[in-house]
Symmetry: C2
Subunit: 548 residues, 2 copies
């Protein structure tokens, strides 16, 4: 495991944000039949990086082959155990008939799909079969067959999940959506787009740019739209545009019985029955496989101001973020970084930013309005010991600054290239953010581990990256202790254990404290009603001790 | 029935927007024990109108007593039939033990609760018992008892629903939430508030005003927060702030088995498990009784520009609304009225507005930004044959204009005081709105009935008020034909049969065309899992022909 991780780290430090896509594009069987009649987004993208991909492929395969043991070292908290039943030959034959060449039982491929790429979560099993469906119809047939044989299914998108969503603790069939990347229709006048779930948000935005539109969710590079729906993700722009919950118009989903459900019309708002769209968003593949997504788009703003401001303490920085939100200013980004995170960014990017608590702002709209908002927030910052704003002036400088911020996780590995990262994700009511960050920071600073703080401060959502040596059990335990501390502190403040990363296997243990057993029983009742055989992504989201 | 309706019409024309609250405050038993330890919002409100209420009470009772026949005239489409089983004496005794004096079996009270106030929907039965719980605990006990005896429950808020949500086609127990109106906590720094479901949105905003905050949903006057959650309502400000879906942080809900479920934390965003909050919003009391709501609040804007603009055709007006949205302008309201609706407003309010298709705009933010947005939209309007903008200058004039708009329904009755109204509620992708309105308008204009058009044009949501003589079967049929025409036209445009009013009994027949049988079966599976005895608001939302 260590080898694979360290390879990823090396890769991260060379061509960080694209590494997930690269892995996707070279480490699996190539599709024999691309869907025709519509634009395939991933193809040109993968193509442009082909030389690099080919150069790295041998390295990848070599390192994967060295790391085939499962379970191994590590806290049991992060190793998901599951019983495993052999997949019946009859099912294999049915899947072959459906998927033709687009399936594999190759060990390396199964191994690769058995471990999320950016996560310390592991499982004691890996999938038995990987299928690469090309259409909703194929997904429906695959799921119908698996349901008939009561074999588990794990939907698989960009695999950038941090909480173990794509683990296959019971083996079974992994449905890799990477061949379903079409833009099915772009409705410029309605500012919406209908896509297949395997398309990445970055590729989608490349496609949309010429139309003056964009999709305003920006999770980790490599994330796909389907996975983003499944985990109810958000990102730095959620403070302005909301999360996936607010930005999906409707879905098509294949349920456990193989039925294809359309969750809503294409109208922007509707009161027509239960909100199946929102039920599916954040259900982490435990209720169905998403096969089509209609997304709400935004106009690319005509103007933006991007600025940074430094503070003597992280509490000052957090207070300014809170005061900015209270002012009624519709900031489009307000990101907080502590001095350790800035140091990491400097190290990884050859920058020389002041290594002190920092806020990064973006104001958008007309030029006059962006500037007016900036002046108001500058005044707020001054009242809280902030320095003068430093502006990113030209479009390239602005883009670079957000790129650096987006790759903060990889930057952390520049400080400790052979370490793993525990990434936390709590979110609290806004008024509690400064206190939560202060208390957490105190705990992090007094720890022996290197920890950085990054917050989507306008939403009350903050992350820490806790670096630890995976070979040092004591360090792993300390990382876990810090995570527990922050989660419980957030829950005591009426917050949540996960603002945007999802439950997966990692956060199940906190749900009862957060929501109560009644809510969990309700979730289990819904799960059982829609997936009576329990085949859909088993072992995720609903804690195993919940009984009906 | 006619007498009661005509009384409402008379009442409407005298003191329109408050009539629902007045009815609520005098036509039911007064609570014996108000909840203590927190502010009761409805009390001072009701008190201030007490003299008027007392003056009207005799009139009300007299007219109600004249109209006790059910079913009667009218299309069978709008008369909901249901079997009725006598409520067991044991349940009555249990309810008495829970609710003490806060329950009634008085016929007038049951009759009153058996007919939604603004709706042409009727049922062949009325509730057998009305209970007025004072706490979540009481609601839980009531529901537990009803579930034990398998007796239907109908939750009852402001009763302003248009689609028959509060009908009791199978009799049973009506749970009137009008004694649960407390503000449980206001968190100014988090910009959220925790309330009981019986509080009205208008009363809540009165309470919030001194804090510089408001709740940005504005459905019909008299609507309560609980009912607004249940129907996933919106209103004129949804174009800026979203619907109830986007503005509720969490709920507490009593399920059919009596369990109290907390659907989420108080964090603004969370990825912690299935989105039970959104599942309950829009479930119309068929999954549970809402007992507590945490709402997201907004700052009262520091400045606003309110303007009207006239157009030669309704298509021009619709095109301007669409172009405004495409421009990226964050308009806070863009309401469209046809010439008939303007005539109604003039008649009811003694105004002299030009009786032509009209757009009403609101732009908010800083003064400079509001004015900048106004200039951009003025330019768009000019390009589409719009007149110069006419501005409401002072705060009182602005308030009056929105009040007139809000009371548009009552204004329609000024044209035909003894008629009933069929109110339609379709919503389509924005690019189709102009075409839909044009086609509908053509159909409406060539009808013998008086019809007005009001649209939340920025959302693609539009209503028509079709006035008809309830004694003329031919007129009723014609109103139904027009409604069908608009719904089917909207569905053919990938729209929805209900943008904000909900399904109730009125829109069930369109859901299969809109969503497909697979989605309806999924809803039924969820319903059955959470309410196996089918006691929660039976006969609503899920069409009876949906089988598992």
């Amino acid at each position: 495991m260590v080898f694979f991780c360290s390879w990823i780290h090396r890769f991260r430090s060379s061509s960080k944000p694209i590494y997930t896509n690269l892995i996707n594009s070279f480490s699996r069987k190539l599709p024999t039949n691309q869907a025709v009649g519509s634009e395939n987004i991933q193809k040109p993208f993968a193509k442009s990086f082909l030389p690099l991909a080919l150069a790295l492929i041998l390295d990848c395969l070599l390192l994967i082959s060295k790391s085939k043991s499962f379970g191994g070292k590590g806290s049991t908290d992060y190793v998901v155990k599951g019983s495993h039943k052999e997949v019946p030959q009859e099912l294999i034959q049915e899947l072959k008939a459906i998927c033709k060449d687009n399936m594999t039982m190759d060990y390396d491929e199964r191994y690769f799909h058995g471990k999320p790429q950016n996560s310390l979560h592991k499982a004691t099993n890996i999938p038995d079969v990987i299928v690469f469906p090309r259409s909703e119809e194929e997904v429906s047939k695959i799921v119908t067959s698996c349901n008939k044989h009561k074999v588990p299914i794990v939907p698989y998108g960009g695999a950038t999940s941090i909480e173990g969503h794509t683990l296959s603790p019971n083996g079974g069939v992994c449905i890799d959506m990477s061949l379903m990347t079409r833009v099915k229709s772009l409705n410029v006048k309605d500012m919406d787009v209908v896509v297949e779930p395997g398309i990445g948000w970055m590729e989608l935005n490349e496609y949309l740019e010429p139309y003056g539109l964009f999709f305003p969710l920006d999770p980790g590079p490599g994330a796909t739209i389907g996975g983003m729906c499944a985990t109810r993700c958000s990102g730095s722009l959620a403070v302005r545009y909301g999360t996936m919950r607010e930005n999906v118009i409707n879905l098509k989903v294949v349920l456990a019985n193989g039925e294809v459900v359309k969750t809503g019309s294409r109208a922007r708002k509707s009161a027509a029955g239960y909100d199946l769209t929102r039920l599916m968003i954040g259900s982490e593949g435990t209720l169905g496989v998403i096969t089509e997504v209609t997304l709400r788009l935004q106009k690319i703003p005509q103007y933006s101001v991007v600025a940074m401001c430094n503070f003597p303490t992280i509490k000052d920085a957090a207070e300014v973020a809170i005061a900015t939100m209270h002012s009624g200013i519709q900031v489009s980004r307000v990101e907080l970084l502590d001095e350790v995170q800035v140091r990491a960014l400097n190290l990884a990017n050859g920058k020389n930013l002041p290594e002190v608590p920092t806020l990064m702002f973006e104001f958008i709209g007309t030029e006059a309005y962006s500037r007016e908002q900036t002046l108001i927030v500058q005044k707020i910052a001054l009242e809280h010991n902030g320095t003068d704003f430093v502006f990113a002036e030209d479009p390239e400088a602005k883009k670079e600054l957000w790129k650096i911020r987006k790759e903060a996780l990889w930057a952390c590995f520049a400080m400790q290239p052979n370490f793993e990262a525990m990434i936390t994700d709590v979110c609290v009511p806004l008024s509690r953010l400064a206190e939560l960050i202060s208390r957490s920071k105190q705990e992090l600073d007094s720890s022996s581990l290197v920890c950085t703080v990054i917050a989507h401060a306008g939403d009350g959502n903050f992350h820490t990256v806790i670096l630890f040596d995976p070979n040092q059990e004591k360090q792993r335990k300390e990382a876990e202790r810090l995570n527990h501390f922050m989660v419980h502190t957030a829950l005591d403040m009426e917050g949540t254990c996960t603002g945007e990363h999802g439950v997966g296997t990692g956060k199940m243990k906190y749900l009862e404290k957060e929501l109560g057993m009644e809510a969990l029983r309700t979730m289990k009742r819904i799960k059982t009603a829609l997936d009576p055989n329990g085949i859909m992504n088993p072992g995720k989201l609903i804690p195993p001790h919940v009984c009906l």
